[in-house]
């Protein structure tokens, strides 16, 4: 049960129940769909990008608690960040959920995202935690309109 408690931390359950920035953005200049066909998780990430800075970010869609909380916490974390900063944060987040983060040097950088540290014990759930991030990356690079983790 302790591993499960580490996975389903309060902050994750809270963001699953009350997702932040959960809305379609009418004046978005980028929007990308993210899909995990195996689970049926499906999200759209909306971006308002001005001079490579994330002025606003939101999302809609549905999926498991891990994927939805991750999308919610991601939007809170990257708002106001530059494209490079957001991509760097994804890099660190990805290391966290795959258990490759070296020590705790970068844990402060992650802030509330550190709640996903338990995911590394559940390899099948890494895709859930990173779906919204892959979608965001797709929106930032703007080459794709649909991103799949399969």
């Amino acid at each position: 049960m302790s591993e499960l408690r580490a996975l389903y931390q309060e902050v994750i359950l809270d963001h699953n129940k009350n997702p932040r920035n959960y809305r379609a953005m009418e004046d978005a200049n980028r929007s990308v769909e993210g899909d995990n066909p195996l689970c049926g998780d499906h999200y759209t990430v909306y971006l308002k990008l001005t001079n490579d800075r994330i002025e606003d970010v939101s999302f809609t869609g549905s999926g498991c608690a891990i994927s939805k909380a991750s999308a919610s916490l991601m939007t809170s974390a990257v708002k106001g960040k530059s494209k490079e900063e957001a991509e760097q944060l994804f890099e660190t987040f990805h290391q966290l959920v795959t258990g490759e983060l070296d020590g705790f040097d970068n844990i402060e950088e992650l802030g509330k995202l550190a709640a996903f540290s338990g995911v590394s014990e559940f390899p099948t759930r890494v895709k859930c935690a990173s779906l919204a991030w892959h979608t965001l990356k797709g929106a930032l690079t703007s080459t794709a309109t649909i991103v799949s983790t399969e």
Binding site: E3, L4, Y8, L13, L38, C39, D41, S62, C64, F122
Partner: protein, 420 residues
């Protein structure tokens, strides 16, 4: 002479399955997962294997391993004998009229693809129709879609009711002069619905239409008699019926198999080869190109021996009791909705739990040592029909116990606790 009361006692005893004794035959069941005794409720995905199946496969590789139908040496003769003997076991198990009607495949999926590719191409033309039901597994949808696309034919689907049944009346209204082939599952993997296959086959035959039955989910739960069903083709997988993976069976009526072109070319499926002309082998070898999965066939034969030694009426009683008990228990859980409530069901309970995603349910149950399947169960049209992205599915085998059902229910209460 036994007294009447003694007779009643012994007949009642004959119908009670000694589940604890049976569980001893399955070594994998005796382990702890995440510190809890394993509760394996994913039998519709694949079943566990009794020790004697594992032993038979090991014995083959240790003592008899050799290619079949080739050598004159002793090992090859032994391997060939074991391989062909297993074919006879399958023939008796499904009551096929002739041993040549039993073709070994890689599994249900390959069996359906073989029929679609070989029989389908000679049977279905432009403007024709292939009829399936709305409860099919992807493996009994996609091969027919590919065939219909290639031939300019139309795939038609029997709509399913809110209970997850494919009504016979609707099935019959869809049969028409353009229908050239019917493909139906015997039991649905996602919902557990038992299709009225005997009646469906009779209705199709009354119009001269051949029928393939996908028996993947039926073969572990009901005794199948392909002649009584009058199925033209019946396909199943070994791994769902307590045998190894990678092997399956296509039963086909001899007259149909004889008329069909080969599916794959290669060794073993030929009588003679010259660059000008090749003469194909007789049935069933015409459809078994290349070195087959010999160990798999031997393992399947052993699994059939194991099943034949069980009291099948006791097995059916026990499985029925498990399904009834689990259905009643799960219905009492707040916010739990069972998807698939057909009158005739076997071994499968699919459900949703409030707005909690099945993947979260599956992860939390796994933390309790409980293995269930979560997702769309390779039956996305069924999920669409019921308006859910996925379900959690518990599926039973005869080695499951009432205590395991209790563990599942208690695990679901833990899920509710985590999500308040």
């Amino acid at each position: 002479m036994s007294t009447p009361s003694a007779t009643i006692v012994s007949s009642a005893a004959a119908k009670t399955l000694d589940v604890e004794r049976i569980r001893e035959d399955f070594p994998i069941l005796h382990q702890r997962v995440k510190g809890k005794p394993l509760v394996y409720l994913d039998n519709a995905a694949t079943s566990q294997k009794p020790q004697r199946v594992l032993d038979a496969i090991m014995r083959y590789y240790r003592e008899d391993n050799s290619n079949v139908h080739r050598g004159v040496h002793t090992l090859s003769e032994r391997a060939t004998h074991a391989y062909e003997n297993a074919r006879k076991k399958v023939q008796r198990f499904i009551n096929a009229g002739d041993v040549s009607e039993v073709v070994f495949t890689r599994g249900t999926t390959e069996g359906i693809n073989l029929v679609a590719s070989s029989f389908g191409r000679m049977q279905v033309g432009a403007g024709d129709e292939v009829l399936i039901t709305g409860i099919e597994h992807h493996s009994n949808i996609v091969p027919w879609q590919l065939l219909c696309q290639e031939r300019g034919a139309r795939l038609r689907v029997v709509r399913i009711t809110d209970d997850g049944e494919a009504p016979l009346a609707e099935f019959e209204t869809l049969l028409n002069a353009r229908t050239k082939l019917v493909a139906i599952s015997h039991i649905s993997n996602a919902l557990g619905t038992i299709n009225p296959v005997r009646e469906m086959i009779a209705a199709a035959h009354a119009r001269g239409i051949p029928v393939l039955v996908d028996g993947a989910q039926a073969i572990p739960h009901v005794r199948v008699d392909v002649q009584a069903l009058n199925a033209d083709f019946y396909v199943f997988s070994s791994h769902k019926v307590f045998g190894p993976t990678g092997i399956g069976v296509l039963y086909g009526k001899q007259s149909l198999l004889d008329a069909m072109p080969p599916y794959q070319g290669g060794g073993d499926m030929i009588k003679s080869v010259a660059f000008e002309r090749t003469i194909f082998n007789d049935l069933p070898y015409k459809f078994e190109a290349g070195t087959p999965n010999i160990a798999g066939v031997i393992g399947l034969g052993e699994a059939i021996d194991y099943l034949n030694a069980l009291d099948w009426s006791a097995v059916e009683n026990h499985e029925h009791a498990l399904l009834e008990y689990a259905t009643q228990k799960l219905k009492q859980v707040d916010g739990l909705r069972i998807i698939g409530t057909a009158r005739e069901k076997a071994g499968v309970i699919s459900f949703v739990l409030g707005d909690i995603h099945p993947h979260d349910i599956g992860t939390i149950l796994d933390g309790e040592g409980i293995a269930v399947r979560t997702g769309h169960h390779c039956a996305q049209p069924v999920m669409i029909r019921f308006g859910v992205p996925a379900t959690t599915r518990a599926s039973f085998a005869f080695y499951n116990t009432m205590q395991e059902v209790d563990a599942l229910v208690s695990g679901i209460h833990n899920v509710l606790k985590v999500f308040h």
